[in-house]
Structures are given as C-alpha cells and as structure tokens.
C-alpha cells in the first residue's frame, strides 16, 4: 500500500522541479497575482536584467491597495498613489499581463477577484506579493505571500526557491452556535495558539465545521492563517468547491473541466497521513470574538473580560504596551465599550456573504449617530451582487452608504484612515498599532459583531440582535 499522504504534500510535491540538498526546493508557480504596491521594484529589477516575463499568461494584475473608495471615475488625487497605479498599468501593458485597473468591471481586491473569476483552482500553487494570498488555500491550492525579490523571481522564471514548511492540521468539530461565523473560528484559533503559533507551518483545516462551511467562509479562515504565523492554510476541495467554481469566467469549461474533476477529487489527506502538529478544537467552545490588543492573537469572546497579563504568553512589558496603546486595562469587560468607526470589507470579509450577514443585523435598525461606518465591497462583482440582492436598500434604509471596492481602511494606504485615538470595529485582519491610520485603535471582529456595534455604538453581542 502506498504511504498515506497529506493534501499539502500532494500539491507541494507536484510542483517541485528540483530539490537542492541543504537548501530550498525549486518550486513552480501556477498563478501569480500582482498589485501596485509590491510589484514596481520587481519590474525595475527585471528591466535591469534585460529579462522578459517568462509566462505572462500566468500573471494577473489588479489595482487594490492604494485606490480611493469614493469617486473612482475622477483622477486619483494623491500623486504618489496615481504614479504607482500608472506604473502597474504601464508594466502590465509592456509585458502583456492581464490588468484589471481602477474602473475595470472586474477590478477589486486581489484575493476576492482571483477566486470569483475562477483564476484560483484546486491543486494550484499561487503566490502574490501580499501575505493574505493564503486566502486562495480555501480551494485546496497552496497559496502564500512573497516579497518583492520573489515577485521578480516569479516574473522572470515562474519559480521561487522555497524550503518546504512543516505540516499542521487544525480540526474544528461539532456545530457552530447562533451568531458564530467563520471569522470567529479564525480569531478563536489564533487566540488559542497565539499570533506566532503556526510559524514555520502550513495548515490544513479539517473537521465538521470546515466541511459544512461555504467557500466565502473558508476563504475568511484561510485568509487569517498568516495571522497565526502560518505561511498559508488550505481546505481539501469538495463538491462545495467545485460548485462555487463551475462556470466562473476564467475557470476551465466543458471537457477541460470534466478532465480535471477526478484529479481534484483526489486532493485530500489520506487516512493515517502524518502531520508534525495535529490539534482539535470544539465548535461549541467558540462564541463571537473580538480583539482587545495590538496583535490578532489578543482576542477573546465578546462577552468576556480582557485577560490578565499573568496569563499571557507574551512578556508583561509587551502586553502592557499593547493595552496602553488601546486605552484598555486588564479585566475590563469588552461589552459596552464605545465605538467611533465600523469598517466592513477587506480580503478577509469583503465578500457577498459578509454583506448579507451585516445586513441581517442592521435591517430595520438605524446606524448609531456616534458611529462612522465604511462599507467597502471586495470587488465590483460583489458590489453588483449587493445591489441585485436588495442588500443596498436595506443598508440605505438603516443609514449606511456603500463605498467603491478596494483594500481601503484595512491598511489605510489611501484616504480611508481611522483618526488617532479612535476605536474601530473592523472586519479586516490586523489590529497592529497604526494599521488603520496613525494612532488608530482596531478591534477585529466578524461582520455580525461589526453590525451590532454599528447600530448600538458600543461593543455588543450580536446574538442579542438576531
């Protein structure tokens, strides 16, 4: 009998062109996404070498990090941002790379548009100069973020030099309770294993909760893999995966699709395959989550108190520094904390399901007067769907407005910055100091928790509004 193998090994090993003794693998990349921020220096490097792009059809460009979310039809006001967007357009044209720039009907956040257009497929290797490339692992792809030197490497050679990570399996079994959504599962896992608990590993998510989870939900969880230190995370493809992809614009069609199905169905971890670390959590232990600190591991149940520093893995000084930045103290309750901003969007929670969830809470209610809410769809396709499903009407009646697609306040590279000292409940992925603007204070949460805060003006348990 052949040795039982993991999903990760099956996909990884199929992409190794050469193994270097006492060194990395020469690793082939099926799909490469680029955006305006981490690619310009890579193109300069290419130019310096007089090297062409080896396979331009395997790279896809979209503008997202540095784009305005209002008045996208007007020229971009910030000259530096405009220059970066122009550079992406110019470089894409010069090297014959598909480019979905600002205003293009398929434009949006790279990790939203890749899957929704069927560019991402099971069994692929996918990289991008962005750590949240881990999102694409939801499809049973090995997907991870790379630096700009590696962006140049992939443009020039379609390969990177990558040591094989260790393997971790995280199973969550049972059924999620009312008001507990994929973002809560991700934040809960990170709070249990810390923001560096999976560093050096590639994660496979398994168990009942992921088997019954939608593709949008799997993308949310895989997206957050990097926030536990993992290079990436993946879920074995199944009928949910194939049903999501079938018929998408750039997915294989007809015979080409049919021929791939048996391969895709083989992409699962065999019984008895070994992981370096194998851990299990119980769905019943997970309640709606919220973070109180300055790394994504500093999270807890929304009804809980801020933990005592004595119970923290991080040193006391780092813990206190973090709470001081947030303006919080040990043992305070999270419920009832006043909120200034709510941000719904990002590659973590900027998909249609997230807007449906947000609307389900705000329907028939009104935005709190003290709250500024930024609702930013992940792509124009998501935006169109929000309108088509009548969600926009619900949001408008409740006093909310929709902005245009982009990364927006997740990293606050454009004008969407949370002011210093203000509190934002955010559906994005990072609560680092200054991440959403210099001095901004971020509380990471699900779209449901964000919606509950948006209509009450304070941290609220969404289960009381369902």
């Amino acid at each position: 009998m052949p040795t039982p193998t993991t999903l990760f090994d099956k996909v990884w090993d199929a992409h190794v062109i050469r193994h270097i003794d006492d060194g990395p693998d020469v690793f082939f990349i099926d799909r490469h996404f680029i955006h305006e921020v981490t690619s310009p220096v890579a193109f300069l490097g290419l130019e310096g070498r007089n090297a062409p792009v080896l396979f331009s059809e395997r790279t896809f460009a979209t503008a997202d990090h540095n784009t305005p979310t209002l008045n996208q039809h007007l020229p971009v006001a910030d000259p530096l941002s405009a220059n970066q967007l122009d550079a992406l357009a110019r470089n894409s044209a010069r090297y014959n790379i598909s480019h979905w720039g600002l205003g293009h009907q398929k434009n949006g956040i790279v990790h939203v548009v890749g899957p929704e257009n069927g560019i991402t497929l099971p069994g692929m290797t996918i990289v991008c100069g962005d750590s949240h490339t881990s999102t694409h692992g939801a499809f049973g792809a090995i997907a991870f973020g790379i630096g700009t030197s590696e962006v140049e490497m992939v443009l020039a050679t379609q390969c990177i030099m990558q040591p094989k990570p260790k393997k971790m399996r995280i199973s969550v079994n049972g059924t999620l309770g009312k008001g507990v959504v994929p973002k809560d599962v991700a934040l809960y896992i990170i709070s249990q294993i810390s923001a560096s608990g999976a560093t050096g590993y590639f994660v496979e998510y398994a168990g009942d909760v992921f088997r019954t989870m939608s593709m949008e939900g799997r993308m949310t969880v895989c997206n957050m893999s990097i926030e536990m230190g993992a290079r990436g995370g993946m879920v074995a493809p199944d009928q949910t995966t194939l049903a999501y992809l079938k018929g998408r614009d750039l997915a294989p069609q007809g015979d080409a699709w049919d021929k791939l199905v048996p391969y895709w169905e083989s992409l699962k971890t065999d019984d008895g395959a070994a992981f370096d670390v194998d851990m299990t959590f119980h769905a019943a232990d997970i309640e709606p989550q919220i973070t109180y600190g300055t790394n994504p591991g500093m999270g807890t149940g929304v009804t809980r108190q801020i933990p005592l520093s004595a119970n923290q893995a991080d040193g006391d000084a780092s813990y206190q520094k973090s709470l001081t930045y947030m303006g919080f103290a040990e043992n305070e309750s999270m419920l009832g904390k006043p909120i200034d901003f709510v941000f719904l969007g990002s590659c973590t929670n900027g998909r249609i399901e997230d807007f449906r969830a947000f609307a389900s809470i705000v329907k028939g209610r009104q935005k709190a007067v003290n709250v500024t809410a930024w609702l930013v769809p992940g792509s124009h396709i998501v935006e169109a769907q929000i309108k088509a499903e009548g969600i926009l009407d619900v949001l408008t009646e409740a006093g909310f407005a929709l902005r245009q697609p982009g990364c927006s306040a997740c990293l606050a590279m454009n004008e969407d910055k949370i002011p210093a000292g203000k509190y934002a409940v955010s559906t994005s992925n990072r609560n680092f100091e200054g991440r959403q603007g210099p001095g901004a204070r971020t509380l990471l949460a699900s779209p449901l928790v964000a919606a509950a805060a948006a209509v009450t003006g304070v941290v609220t348990d969404p289960r009381e509004l369902i």
């Binding site: 990395p24 220096v41 530096l80 550079a87 069994g123 100069g129 962005d130 140049e152």
Partner: protein
C-alpha cells in the same frame, strides 16, 4: 526577435552551460551583485526588547507608495520614532544618543520574539538595510520577513530565548557591547563575555550571502527545465 531578447537568450544559454552540476549550488555564479557580501560582522547593537514587532511598525503602509527602492531607512519605525508633526520621540531607541552616537551606524538590531510578523512587504527589510543594519537577532522570526531579509542580504540570526535575554542584559549593562556574527562558522558571540551560540541557516542561502549570489540567476540557468515543467502542467 528583438536585440534585447537575443542578448537575453545568449546570456541564459551561457548560464545553462555553466551549470554543469544541476543538483549543486556551488557552480552557480551571479551576474548581479544585489547586496554586500556577508562574512564576519563585528558591531555594537541596537536593542529593541519588544515582542511581535510587525512590519507595519517597521514601515507603515503610507510609506509604501514609492516605485523605486530608495530612502526607506528615513521612515524605519516611523510612528515609534517620530510624532505626528515629525519631531523625534526621545524615548525611542533610535533617537537615544547612547545607541546612535559614536561608532555609527550600529549594524546589528536585536529584537524580541516573532520579529517581522504581518505583511509580506519587502519594504520592511529594505528600510532596515537602508538604515544601515546588516543583521537582525531574535529568538523567533516570522517566515516571510526572514525570507525577504535573506533575499536582500540581511542575515536573520535566530538564537535561544536564553541567549537573547543575555544579549539584552549585556547591552543594558554596557551599551557598547560588541557582538560578532560569524556566518562561515554560524556562530554569534558576545565579545565582552565570550559567550557564544551557533545558529542555523541552510547551505544554499549561506552560500548566497557569503558570495552575494542571487536566486534569479540560479533559476534562469535552468530555464529549459522550467519551460518543460510548465508545459506538462494541467493548468
């Protein structure tokens, strides 16, 4: 075929001929010296005993708008280093004359565990390099940062939590404590006490750093093999 691509193809074929032993990295020769060689570094160090130093602290996103790799050192640790109006924060280590005075620049940065977590922005490594550091010491590095550092010629040295605590204590006792980072021997030594620890690095990357080699030259030398591999992919 353009002149440009002819020149490129002839260069690639030379590289392929040169790569006689395909499983070894020792035959690899770089045309592009991307960064300084790294052999033995002896320097005083800047201590930053903070855990989970993320790349948004190293270089905030609003400074990522350049299209060239220039001047990132000026904004290294921007929001820890400067107030909103641009004046230096006196309590931050890079503004402390003890660590930024004589013997400039200190080439070793010593950080708490999980250094470089978060975003994949190579700008973080560029900022550290541009400021003048050539080595970062911690008990634990985030994966992407570590790879980026190695790719641009910064040596990430992972030491035990105990040794890291001894380095911090030694610098605390004497800010001019010198460290020696010896890449050929893979050791890091506190020169005041002679305490030493060895560190890991894979042979391929070590060879690259010692010689200033570049991954892309290696990969271009096996272009035919890559093209053949790509042709056989199902998608």
């Amino acid at each position: 075929m353009s002149l440009l691509s002819q020149a490129y193809n002839s260069r690639v074929s030379k590289l392929i001929t040169a790569a006689a032993d395909r499983s070894s990295f020792s035959t690899h020769r770089s045309k592009n010296m991307a960064y300084d060689h790294f052999t033995i570094l002896r320097s005083t160090a800047v201590p930053m005993p903070i855990e989970n130093v993320d790349t948004d602290q190293i270089i905030p996103a609003r400074f990522l708008k350049a299209t060239e790799r220039k001047g990132f050192g000026d904004n290294l640790f921007r929001d820890w280093r400067y107030t909103a109006d641009g004046s230096p924060k006196a309590d931050f280590v890079l503004n402390d004359p003890t660590y930024t005075g004589e013997g400039l620049p200190r080439k070793i940065l010593v950080g708490g565990k999980n250094f470089g977590s978060g975003s994949s922005r190579e700008h973080a490594a560029w900022a550290i390099y541009d400021y003048g550091f050539r080595c970062v010491v911690s008990s634990f590095f985030a994966d992407i940062f570590k790879g980026n550092a190695l790719n641009i010629g910064i040596l990430p040295v992972q030491v035990s939590p105990e040794f890291l605590a001894r380095i911090f204590a030694a610098i605390d006792a004497d800010p001019n404590t010198e460290l020696e980072v010896n890449l050929p021997d893979q050791t890091i030594t506190l020169l005041t006490t002679g305490e030493s620890e060895s560190f890991d690095i894979n042979g391929y990357k070590k060879n690259n750093l010692l010689n200033g080699y570049d991954d892309i030259d290696y990969l271009l030398s096996m272009k035919d093999e890559i093209v053949q591999f790509a042709d056989a992919r199902p998608f």
